[in-house]
Amino acid sequence: MKKILTILMAALIGTLLIHNAYAGGPPPKNVMKGIFTQLDPATKTVTIKVDGHDDLRILNIGPDVTIDDIVLNKKVMVSLDPNAGPNVIKDISLMFFEMTVTKVIALLIIGFIGGLLSGFIGSGGAFVLTPAMMSLGAPGAVAVASNMCHKFPKAMVGAYKRWKYGQVDIKLGLVMAVTAIIGVEIGIRIQQKILNHWGNAGSNLYVSVVFVLVLAIVGGYILRDALTMTKGATEAKTSNLALKLQKIELWPMMEFKVARVRISAWITVPVGLFTGMLAATIAVGGFIGVPGMIYVIGASAMVASATELVVAFVMGAFGSVQWGIAGLIDIRMTLLILAGSLIGVQLGALGTTYVKDYTIKLVMAAVMLIVAVSRGAKIPIYLADLDLIPRLKQQFFVALDGVSFWALMVALGVAGIIITAAMVKGMLLDRAEKQGQPIKEAIS
């Protein structure tokens, strides 16, 4: 068993070394990072010192950019227009937005609730943190990179705490992580092909459609499961699919002691692969990984959500290194989000000791469905970008954007409320039980 794992890990590290040019998502072609040192309005050129090169380059300001867009002495991401000739600037984004007190507080609060959610259901929270960072002004690639860099320490702390509570199946987590990393690499290739074929708009559309479909279907299934449990049986039953799959005797069979599952290793492969692929394309791995572990492998929601933190840690560390090499991590955002999320994740983790299995499923389902609505609101915008539907009134699109953002905040709020309510109820019950004990002792 150990031999197989070592061989797989060696193969993975080998692939990483060979393909170390690629970050956790494809860094777009014709994009450079650097600092503008000089601007010449007369010739409409600007001098830039590109990262990693000592010499200065001169770029021409393209038709899409005005002189006012040029900010000197601040790091920018510049994308060139390859069709307009060499060295023509198409787009400039400031890499690091101005940090104000409001933004700091926003990052702290969002980080805390995201961490609470992670500690409780195992999902990384990337689906809400990345759009939130982008709406604060970070370019997309920087938002994804910074989130990745915050995900792995948060997952590490959460996994450690939940391991202390006896909920983590380390073996299952590592087995899933190995195939998840392979899945990430596959997902990156798919993402690149789509980007090259259909450009940014097509990529956004593909990501959103997959996102909505996966979250709506899986979320609906989990909701139904959670609701049947609240009505009738209180003990979690292993799903029928998992029971059937566990009967398949295909070497190598693996025993996962904490999850109390004995299953062929081959069954874990597609679960891990899809977790990785979806993490790479739509930035949500946990929403496949956790249900996969519950319904396909047959672990309880408690163990599945805890074990997912191990997978998230490994994937996050892996991806962060790649993004770090590409130089796209805004460490201020990472650390400010960590400030809140490290408290939140530990609170969420200890909260799971006070609740039943179905509460975890309920929170997961609620979040998945609301976030599906949030992302679904953006689909008409992407369809119009690709001219697949006629461009409607601008106000309609602005309204859709607002719906999308606020639905995300509602998802966070709802999750926070359910988790807090369940935890408070559990803690009060526990305290009442403890108080009943001395009376029992006195009587007996």
Binding site: K75, C149, G327, D330, I331, L338, I343, L350, G426, E441
Partner: protein, 112 residues
């Protein structure tokens, strides 16, 4: 609350010598029962303050040198060690603070 703390009792059965009225000494067993408030874990206020101060110090350092930090950390290549290493460092220090903070607030996992 201290009043609501459960009690712990200690029962001990031991041999004693007893002097009877007639003056003869005999060995018998006796039980004693002692009750005291249950042992209470002390709250880790000291640890919380230490880690909190360290964490605050690190954050102050970061926020006062924002531009330098962001420019150096995004140079790419081997500089990747900087953001990844910093994330680890902060997570250990701030994570320890958060853990002690939650304990001080009385939020502990359920013992089952």
């Amino acid at each position: 609350m201290r009043q609501n703390d459960s009690y712990q009792t200690q029962l001990s059965v031991h041999q004693t010598t007893r002097k009877s009225k007639t003056g003869s000494i005999s060995k018998t067993t006796d039980t004693t029962k002692v009750t005291q408030p249950a042992y209470r874990k002390k709250k880790p206020i000291g640890k919380m303050v230490v880690f909190g101060a360290m964490s605050l110090g690190f954050y102050a350092l970061l926020l006062s040198n924002m531009q330098l930090v962001t420019n150096t950390f995004t140079l790419g290549g081997w500089y990747a060690v900087l953001p990844v290493g910093t994330a680890f460092l902060f997570s250990f220090v701030h994570g320890a603070f958060a853990s002690n903070f939650l304990s001080v607030l009385g939020l502990e996992p359920k013992k089952s």
